[in-house]
């Protein structure tokens, strides 16, 4: 039981905190670096989709190339 106690405590803490709203751990005013254009996930869609095409034509693999589903919430 003694060994289980920390585990039970951890689980209980997790359950309690899971109900609380999640506090953003990177505040909006701390996102200056993420908002820099050099940090854009896909800065040039015309170019990245073209390169994806070049590779897919010559290789067997495809998909999950990213660019989509992005978002750093830094706008």
């Amino acid at each position: 039981m003694r060994k289980l106690l920390p585990l039970l405590l951890a689980t209980a803490t997790l359950l309690v905190t899971a109900c609380a709203p999640i506090e953003p751990w990177v505040k909006p005013y701390e996102r200056e670096h993420l908002a820099d254009p050099i940090m854009a996930i896909d800065p040039d869609p015309v170019s990245s989709s073209y390169m994806d095409h070049v590779f897919e034509v010559r290789e067997g693999a495809k998909g999950a190339t990213g660019g989509y589903g992005g978002g750093c919430g830094c706008s």
């Binding site: 999640i22 040039d44 070049v54 067997g60 919430g73």
Partner: protein
């Protein structure tokens, strides 16, 4: 035949890449005009691409893209089949619309691609959602594609492909300097999945070979998962690392790893350098030389289905030019040059260019490799 690949990429780029990067706020209005050129392995492909994106109020946006490939090909496949250099043109038009409501972005797109022996239409839907104080963006997407395939050498040939793509993505702010992106995509394809212009070869008597039609399964399902990390370095530079694993029901397993470094300099310039490594094994039914015709149900000698490795080195430069009098209607403008050098090494596919049947013991010809240069020059405007 290149349409197959391009359709899906165009749909993805239009539908998701341009819009969802900053879900919660629609991306800025922009226009891109590009000239692209690929040269290598006996093939030259070049043409323009024009993309225009415009917001209507704060909730709606539309993106249109017009893209052309002018192809001149005497690739190893063309040469070995005995055909002569050919030229063709492919045109692609696409339109995407987005609607932002609260923290949710809904998107729909249509892509049409046409060349003389291939026509393809793709319809896509997606939704992305910002959550947890905008630290997390989750997205889902679905595409349906229908291809109509013909043959320039056999006017009676007609077949098709039906394709469905399922995508989920997650982008996460990890620290004030680090972004992570996870993506997963499953693709199911049904129909004519081989290439009417590619041939297998088989042993045809002692010391010689002959060519025959390849036969591929009529279904293929693939799964790909990728992870990407982008880190802001203290001296204002960015480091981007990516890895992707791919597996499919034809037996291909592939790994892709990439690293890119971005460095702004002298106020108006941004330079990038990148390296990408790719490796795959071959499909279960690939052989460079089959022992006899009809050796097994499915047979291919498509080099894209063979074991191969690709190394790619890329350099890019972007210059933000002064706007002068245009600053009243343009926010920002850049001129960009990207150059990539590809080296593809095939570990089973052999180079038969100088070895027609009867000139060498089949299976002893040198292995094939190709190198190619890819150039993109484009001008971008944000307004």
């Amino acid at each position: 035949m290149k349409t197959v690949v391009w359709q899906r990429i165009a749909a993805l780029a239009l539908l998701l890449g341009t819009a969802a990067v900053h879900a919660g706020v629609l991306a800025e209005d922009r226009a891109d005009v590009m000239y692209h050129r690929y040269q290598g392995g006996g093939i030259t492909v070049q043409g323009p691409s024009v993309l225009v994106r415009k917001k209507f109020g704060e909730s709606f946006a539309a993106t249109a893209n017009y893209y052309v490939d002018n192809i001149s090909s005497a690739s190893i496949d063309v040469v070995v089949s005995g055909a002569s250099r050919y030229a063709e043109r492919r045109e692609q038009k696409s339109l995407a619309v987005e609607y932002l409501r609260g923290k949710t972005t809904y998107s729909a797109s249509f892509v049409n691609s046409e060349e003389n022996d291939y026509k393809a239409d793709t319809y896509s839907l997606s939704v992305s959602q910002d959550m947890f104080g905008d630290l997390t963006t989750v997205s889902m997407g679905y595409s349906y594609g229908k291809d109509h395939i013909g043959s320039s050498v056999d006017p009676t040939f007609a077949d098709g492909i039906e394709r469905r793509n399922y995508r989920v993505g997650l982008t996460q702010v990890l620290t004030r300097n680090l972004l992570a992106s996870l993506n997963f995509e499953a693709v199911t394809e049904q129909g004519y999945l081989q290439n009417p212009y590619r041939f297998i070869r088989f042993v045809n008597g002692p010391g010689s070979y002959a060519l025959g039609q390849e036969v591929a399964p009529r279904t293929r399902t693939s799964n790909a998962g990728s992870v990407r990390l982008k880190y802001y370095l203290p001296w204002r530079a960015a480091l981007d690392g990516q890895y992707r694993f791919y597996t499919d029901t034809w037996g291909i397993n592939a790994h892709t790893a990439g690293l890119e470094y971005t460095q702004p300099l002298w106020n108006r310039w941004v330079f990038t350098g990148s390296y990408r490594y790719y490796t795959q094994n071959g499909t279960n039914f690939f052989m460079d030389l089959f022992p006899r015709p009809g050796y097994q149900n499915f047979m291919t000698r498509d080099k894209e289905n063979s074991p191969l490795q690709t190394h790619t080195i890329g350099l890019g430069a972007s210059y933000e030019f002064p706007l002068g009098f245009a600053s009243s209607f343009i926010k920002r403008g850049t001129a960009n040059l990207h150059v990539n050098h590809l080296m593809v090494n095939y570990s089973q596919f052999r180079n038969l260019t100088n070895f027609p049947p009867g000139t060498a013991e089949p299976g002893t010809e040198p292995l094939y490799s190709l190198s190619a240069n890819v150039i993109q020059f484009f001008v971008s405007f944000w307004y």
